[in-house]
């Protein structure tokens, strides 16, 4: 089905073993990803999965990186999002700039970094000061943050943070930042679009992990839960739907690891993720609505992932890609 080799399969087993042993997502959501978890992730080479060995990273290929994102997302979408932000958003913005040396401290878990991929507006002055409000940022407690204005810039800490509660990726801190900070330009262009575009397969890997985690929960529950004298799995509408969802999961895995067109893969992932996570909650009845059963988190994170990274802009890109021209949408 997928073109995964023996090494890939060993990696899958290793990551699963790590997750089984070390990840308690309920605790992570309550206490946030702390120093101990950062150290663990760093020691396994996950934090710096794509970062070069010059900076203590693992310099993994795409397939290995996607395996890590998928497997960790099944247990903790929050941790997968942290790894994604470092390797898919932050690193591409700073690599080959004077900031790239910080990647050593990032891959070793010593410092947090973040990227503002929302649509915030900033004011830049000639004294290298940036002001404005960053609304709704993950990892606000960062050493520095990549911002996208007309240029790609980096704002330096300390940041004035207004921490807030947030329903998605709850293992990461979240909040607003009142900016009055020094900044440096890392690129004369705003690179947000191309960085996100290049991360489509990485996002699809996280989506696949969420989908897979949710379906696993639903299928296991359908085998042990009885109602009206029969196991849930023996009711046609439920079995048909779960089987259809399981098929979608495997199609997504196949197109991701066989490196099919990233636009198609990402679109398929985003088209499936919320429906699957929602149905997995439904299967659990009242229990699905409670954190203890570990399935509602997939629904929350699925919706947030889609809200942040997939909208009209991505649909326009898909259409332009399909038509092989920039369409003049009315």
């Amino acid at each position: 089905m997928s073109n995964l080799d023996e090494e890939n399969n060993i990696l899958i087993d290793t990551v699963r073993e790590f997750c089984e042993k070390n990840i308690d997502e309920k605790k992570i959501e309550e206490e946030k990803i702390g120093k101990n978890m950062n150290s663990l992730l760093a020691s396994q080479g996950f934090l710096g999965a794509k970062i070069g060995d010059k900076y203590g990273g693992s310099a993994l290929d795409d397939t290995s990186y996607h395996i890590i994102l998928e497997e960790i997302s099944k247990y903790s979408p929050s941790i997968a999002m942290k790894i994604f932000m470092i390797n898919s958003l932050y690193m591409p913005a700073v690599i080959n700039t004077e900031y790239e040396s910080i990647l050593s401290d990032v891959s070793s878990g010593k410092v947090n970094v973040s990227v503002d991929f929302m649509n915030d507006k900033y004011s830049l002055d000639y004294n290298s000061n940036v002001s404005g409000i960053i609304k709704n940022i993950l990892n606000p407690d960062s050493k520095n943050i990549v911002l996208f204005d007309k240029k790609t810039i980096i704002a330096e800490s300390p940041f004035k943070i207004n921490e807030k509660d947030f329903m998605g990726f709850k293992g990461l801190k979240f909040g607003d930042i009142e900016l009055d900070n020094k900044y440096n330009v890392v690129d004369d262009k705003n690179r947000k679009e191309d960085i996100i575009l290049n991360s489509y397969n990485d996002l699809s890997a996280i989506a696949l992990g969420i989908i897979s985690g949710a379906i696993n929960k639903a299928m296991e529950y359908s085998k042990v839960r009885t109602t009206f004298g029969a196991y849930l799995k023996n009711y046609e509408p439920l079995a048909f739907k779960l089987s259809e969802m399981h098929s979608k999961e495997n199609i997504l895995r196949s197109i991701l690891y066989n490196n099919l067109d990233k636009y198609y893969t990402f679109n398929f992932a985003m088209d499936s993720i919320v429906e699957i996570a929602r149905f997995s909650v439904n299967i659990h009845g009242g229990y699905g609505y409670f954190k203890d059963f570990g399935v509602e988190k997939f629904y929350r994170d699925a919706v947030i992932l889609k809200s942040i990274f997939y909208g009209n802009e991505q649909l326009r890109q898909l259409s332009n890609h399909v038509y092989s021209e920039k369409l003049n949408f009315i």
């Binding site: 807030k164 509660d165 009206f228 439904n282 009242g286 609505y289 954190k291 919706v303 942040i308 909208g311």
Partner: protein, 359 residues
């Protein structure tokens, strides 16, 4: 439909806009705390008129449109009252006045850890001993469970060939020895509402606590659900409308005009309108004492799915701007609409059963 209550609708809406501010709703949601002050305030203003079901329906819709966690919290202290109203004796009906006045909070204990929808197979027992019943067992996901003064409880009083024939309903005083409530925390949404797991350990009930006739409990509870489902449809309708309000406000204030969003608006508003028609139509039969359970189930299932659909669409259309708690809270609140008072799957079974019976 129900246009004669437009002034009442406005009164409720004004109350909700004034009292259910974003800050208040977010606080109760974060703290998972029951808003008893708002319950008392709504009572002092006479928001809920239990003598008029159309007014209850409208109040639930409008309150949930502003915030479902608070809206449901202030409209559920009467949960289960219809069982007493329809099947209780004079004394039990008299007792309801103290519920309507706010002196007591009521709740309904049907669902058990081993099953929610499969009511006929509940395991809680009320064993007759002389002129008493001894109650043993446990209940799950009970709204108001840890704050209720009294609960309408379904228990097995005999083992019959058809299991639903052996069930009876009781009015349980939660101060009695042997009653224990464990508040459940960590809900995805409607976090201001109180939900609990209950255990009954040799609770002594008197024969006067029996509601109606022994062995008729299943019928009473099914009759109740056929009524209460219409109120859940109203909760869901309110949530869908609240999500749509957020979308419209965002689209207008940001002058968004792309066609994809326009199609989304058309689609959501069509589903809301269909939910409203289904809900009001089913309610109009119910309130004339001519219930059509299949219509009520259609309303509940469709409005529930519409609440989820609209709230997911709000998250999608607002995109990164949806990440403030006042929008995401609507999304989290919506999901329970497909679960409680009969999951959407159970509603579909009821609908098809009635359709096949030709009713």
């Amino acid at each position: 439909m129900f246009e004669e209550y437009n002034d009442y609708r406005k009164t409720i809406r004004d109350f909700a806009l004034k009292e259910f501010t974003d800050g208040v709703a977010a606080k109760y949601d974060r703290d998972e705390e029951y808003p008893d002050d708002l319950r008392k305030k709504s009572l002092s203003l006479g928001i809920i008129d239990m003598q008029n079901p159309a007014k209850i329906l409208i109040a639930i819709e409008e309150l949930c449109r502003i915030d479902a966690g608070l809206g449901i919290s202030v409209t559920t202290p009467y949960f289960g009252a219809e069982v007493l109203m329809l099947f209780g004796n004079d004394e039990q009906r008299e007792f309801l006045n103290d519920v309507y006045s706010g002196k007591y909070i009521l709740g309904l204990g049907v669902t058990e850890p081993s099953g929610g929808s499969d009511v006929a197979h509940i395991k809680t027992t009320a064993t007759k001993k002389g002129d008493k019943y001894i109650l043993n067992g446990s209940k799950m996901f009970i709204t108001n469970g840890a704050i209720a003064d009294y609960l309408v409880v379904l228990a097995r009083t005999s083992n019959e060939e058809k299991p639903h024939h052996g069930l009876s309903t009781f009015l349980l005083n939660t101060k009695l020895n042997g009653f224990k409530a464990n508040k459940l925390e960590g809900k995805l949404g409607v976090r201001a509402t109180n939900t609990a797991e209950l255990t009954f350990n040799n609770i002594e009930l008197s024969k006067d606590d029996l509601i109606g006739e022994e062995g008729k409990g299943f019928y009473y509870i099914m009759t109740f659900f056929n009524i209460s489902r219409i109120y859940v449809a109203a909760q869901a309708l309110g949530i869908a409308e609240g999500a749509f309000d957020k979308i419209l406000n965002y689209v207008k204030s940001n002058e968004i005009k792309d066609e994809n969003t326009m199609f989304g608006i058309a689609d959501i508003s069509t589903r809301i309108e269909a939910s409203k028609e289904l809900t009001y139509n089913a309610a109009s039969y119910l309130f004339k004492f001519e219930p059509r359970p299949q219509l009520t189930s259609m309303a509940k299932a469709y409005a529930g799915e519409t609440a989820v659909y609209s709230s997911e669409k709000a998250m999608e259309i607002l995109g990164v701007n949806s990440l403030n708690e006042n929008v995401e809270r609507i999304f989290r609140n919506a999901k329970i609409m497909e679960i409680w008072e009969g999951t959407s799957d159970v509603e579909k079974l009821i609908i098809s059963r009635f359709i096949l019976k030709g009713e």
